[in-house]
Symmetry: C2
Subunit: 140 residues, 2 copies
DNA sequence: CCTTGACCTGTGAGCAACTCACAGGTTTTA
DNA sequence: TAAAACCTGTGAGTTGCTCACAGGTCAAGG
């Protein structure tokens, strides 16, 4: 498989494949004749794994160390579990924040919906934004 | 107010203030004596507005045009409402995705919790990740 | 046989929204 | 008066790609 083939197979941009290769997530063999990269099924598995781990919020360095550990025939489990648990906590925090956000946006929008479009006093929404976190203390 | 004062008042990094200034969100007066920036209460309001809008997911260019429109004595409302509604839809999509994500992470973790730490078959979690989206079709 | 187009290679830059570092000037404080 | 803390503008680093570029390679059509 060449770059474009593995990219298609995994549904990613060929440049992402090249990027992952230079980042050390993928280690394709080389065709000595033309120096082209040659990917096998193992590389495809790695690539798919990497993409799914990305969807879960793992960083590239994290994914790289997981893959490296697996390459060294170590179980990446303790490492993964650690990162995984941290990530889960983060996801839950994000969910909580987004929920608050949505609720406030919705109430702002419905307060606003009652007004005609080009209201002369057009600063209502801006005031809504300005006073945004006086009800709930959202901080980053 | 100097940079550090307004930064403290708004609870942000002074570099963020400088950054917003060069991005045209803030237009401080200048002290001709020493060329220092001088921020007033209006700047503080703008900065706070910008930060809250950022928390809501508005981009800097969006915030800039809202602020510009307000400066020109136009109601930024139609513009804001538009961006606002788009943003709300996006937030709701993010929430849905994060919910799915969390549920899958939790079930993976609990399936995993039953195993001892250094399980010889250490690839379980990796397999979980590999087969991640076969249950729910999550795609970016 | 040769040209065209699609691919390959590595490298460098651009995106967002900061954050930090640097070098030189100014003001405050001890 | 000297040191610490601030100011200035600018440039670079961050993350995870994505795109652009210049030159090399290869398969197919005329």
């Amino acid at each position: 498989m060449k770059v474009i083939d593995i990219a298609k197979a995994a549904g990613v941009n060929p440049d992402t494949v090249r990027f992952y290769t230079r980042e050390g997530l993928l280690n394709p063999a080389r065709n000595p004749a033309n120096n082209y990269q040659q990917f096998g099924n193992e590389d495809l598995r790695r690539l798919r794994f990497a993409r799914k781990a990305r969807q879960l919020g793992f960083s590239l360095p994290e994914i790289r160390s997981i893959l490296r550990q697996a390459d060294d025939h170590h179980s990446p489990c303790p490492l993964v579990r650690d990162v995984f648990e941290n990530r889960l906590a983060e996801v839950e925090r994000e969910i909580r924040e987004l929920h608050q956000l949505r609720d406030r946006m919705k109430s702002a929008l419905s307060a606003w919906q009652t007004m005609p479009d080009g209201t002369p006093d057009g600063h209502t929404i801006c005031r809504l934004i300005e006073h945004w976190d006086e009800s709930t203390g959202l901080r980053d």
